[in-house]
Assembly symmetry: C2
Homo-oligomer: 145 residues x 2
DNA sequence: CCTTGACCCTCCAGTAACTGGAAGCCCCAT
DNA sequence: ATGGGGCTTCCAGTTACTGGAGGGTCAAGG
């Protein structure tokens, strides 16, 4: 199976699949013409990766999960630990985002949004003093693309 | 004022301030020895930037907001539009993350987390078929550091 | 006057996880 | 044989910084 079909089957872009090979998450065979040759097991792994990524697992998490997945004797506790850590990270991100949403939605509501220059949003951003500080991003600025 | 004091006053790391100069968000003066010389207006801008970033505005948003902030005749509608767009993006991220949290917390609860190899988390990740697919990340994989 | 240590400077590289594009084979159908 | 799509590799760019090397500057203490 060529990369185009692997892409269709797994739902991942071909570029992403090549990248995953690059970082050795998958190791497809090669045909004599140099084309990647995907086995069913590769498709299965790619699908697994797509789902794990969609659940917020990092690439390195995925690497661990794949290893655990392939190790029939692994303890479910190992998997649960990784999943639990992610759960905590996701929950922290949710609460940070909720704080931001609340602050921002108050500001948007307070702003007339017309041709006048008065704008509570900018006023708030330029206020001086500690007490007016908006919340800091907890520990991961990458939350904001 | 040197960069160390500017950092203390604005709450931003010196590295970040240099970076902001690099991308021309601020343009501090220079002393004869080559050191950056920050004015009060620079500190004010840096503080503004710190708050806007903490509210989830991108650097390019910040650039627009700074321009609007310095333009006394701008319409508040322009500011509100930018803020409103961010609000929508933040809300979408919240709902994506909530979906992930729910799925993941069900899986973690269902997993015994002991020495046995049976693990519903891995089972779910490796299930075949469309109906078992977990949600896709909406439009911004960077949500996950 | 010299040294020490805290600052400051620039430049390069790396981060996460891809994505876009160029240059160039390969394969199949007409 | 030619055209179009698919495949290959490699390089660069994205976001918003962060870390570190290598070296200049300044103020205080001996």
């Amino acid at each position: 199976m060529n990369i185009g079909d692997a892409s269709t089957r797994s739902g991942l872009p071909a570029k992403t699949i090549r990248y995953y090979e690059d970082i050795e998450l998958i190791l497809p065979l090669r045909d004599s013409n140099g084309y990647r040759a995907f086995r069913e097991s590769d498709i299965h792994k790619l699908t697994f990766l797509g789902r794990a990524r969609a659940l917020g697992f990092s690439i390195e998490d995925c690497r661990s999960l794949l290893a655990l997945w392939e190790d029939k004797d692994r303890a479910s506790a190992d998997v649960r630990r990784i999943a639990g850590e992610n759960l905590r990270i996701i929950e922290a991100k949710i609460s940070d985002l909720i704080d931001m949403r609340d602050t921002l939605s108050h500001l948007v509501e307070a702003c007339a949004g017309d041709q006048r220059p008065d704008c509570p949003i900018l006023d708030r951003l330029s206020e001086l003093g500690e007490d007016t500080k908006v919340g800091q991003i907890a520990d991961d600025p990458k939350v904001f693309g």
